[in-house]
């Protein structure tokens, strides 16, 4: 029987999913943000709504990542995480974090996350993310995106300075990680729309719900 559990590389994953024209995606996302601004009026509310939308996406997307990446058990992941980290010198924002999720889930260490995370970003966004800035406890790290298809053409007007334009991404990460029993807080610390040199998301593991029965409804 062929091995079912050989994890794939980020490139292979990205090649395996359907794609649309990047501009269509960028413009659609822009239209959504504009509409939310019109409907909700408050920038803070829009941030919340984007995060919630991302969360909803993440809770669904994580399964596809798990199914297609063949990341399925601890031993295999640990073995391959190093490989992935080595071969993927670039990291993309969506793929990496997903893999990381799985790693943390099984090894119990947030650190395994780093190599994995890049994968998730690669798979869905086709951009590379790097995982850096681990804190001493190994529960907080940063995803740095040099490139971000969401913000092509975007210039934040003065009236929207508080807008976290890419909040949908942090929501996706939060949602996906929660589905594999990790509660996280995701915040943006660098934003190219505000003149920083890259996008940086700070992901903090707040609670790891043990994989135990019975699952409680309120988890």
């Amino acid at each position: 029987m062929p091995p079912l559990t050989t994890p794939k590389s980020g490139d292979a994953l990205f090649a395996s999913v359907e794609r649309v024209n990047a501009e269509l995606f960028t413009l659609t996302y822009g239209a959504i943000v504009r509409q939310l601004l019109t409907d909700l009026e408050e920038v803070e509310e829009v941030n919340k709504q984007l995060d919630q939308m991302g969360y909803n996406i993440g809770t669904r997307l994580v399964d596809e990542f798990l199914a297609k990446s063949n990341v399925s058990n601890c031993a295999d992941f640990k073995e391959t995480a190093d490989t992935i980290a080595k071969t993927l010198s670039y990291v993309c924002p969506v793929i990496a974090f997903f893999t990381a999720t799985v790693a943390m889930h099984h090894s119990g260490t947030f650190h395994a996350l780093s190599s994995a995370n890049s994968l998730g970003f690669k798979m869905f966004l086709g951009v590379t993310a790097t995982v850096t800035n681990w804190d001493a406890e190994g529960t907080t790290c940063s995803f740095v995106l040099e490139d971000n298809p969401l913000v092509d053409f975007v210039e934040l007007p003065d009236t929207c300075q508080g807008l976290q334009y890419c909040n949908v991404l942090s929501g996706v990460i939060r949602g996906a990680l929660e589905m594999v029993s990790m509660k996280t807080e995701v915040t943006w610390v660098r934003d190219m729309l505000r003149g920083d040199d890259a996008y940086e998301m700070r992901v903090k593991l707040t609670k790891q719900v043990p994989e135990e029965y019975p699952y409680k409804d309120d988890d």
Binding site: P2, R60, L61, E64
Partner: protein, 143 residues
């Protein structure tokens, strides 16, 4: 006459609720109540099996063998369980379950009108599932 029979397929959400049940011609087709009850029983048995494990990291029952059927179970990392009841000795059921998981991510989770953790009523999923099961039978017939 090497037909490999798949008797039924179940999908259980992470809280033990049956969200999909398909019968492929088992002798006694279950009514909804029975299938729901069995699904949640299986969910519990799966959990108990994890606690029986002498070592950590057990993911529960993968295969249950009876004298006249096999039950193959696959649980995704997000806690959704897929299991097929098939004829004894059927091969490649892990691959079939994996394929069904991919169909689930594709045609169920991506359907914006599908409510998470609720019963699956997605025509595209049914259609593609039927094809996969059919193909599987043919492939198994061919060897």
């Amino acid at each position: 006459m090497g037909t490999v029979a798949i008797y039924s397929l179940f999908i259980i959400n992470k809280s033990g609720g049956l969200i999909y049940y398909k019968d492929y011609g088992s002798a006694g087709r279950m009514d909804t109540n029975d299938s729901l009850r069995l699904a949640s029983l299986w969910h519990s048995m799966h959990a108990i099996s994890q606690q029986l494990s002498p070592t950590t990291g057990c993911t529960g029952i993968d295969l249950l063998q009876a004298h006249n059927f096999d039950l193959h179970c696959f649980q995704s990392l997000t806690g959704t369980k897929f299991f097929v009841v098939c004829e004894t000795g059927a091969q490649n059921m892990e691959i079939l379950l994996k394929t069904i998981y991919e169909l689930y991510t594709e045609f169920v989770l991506k359907n914006p009108f599908y409510e998470m953790e609720m019963p699956i009523r997605c025509e595209l999923f049914d259609l593609n599932l039927a094809q996969v099961i059919q193909k599987d039978r043919v492939a198994l017939l061919g060897r």
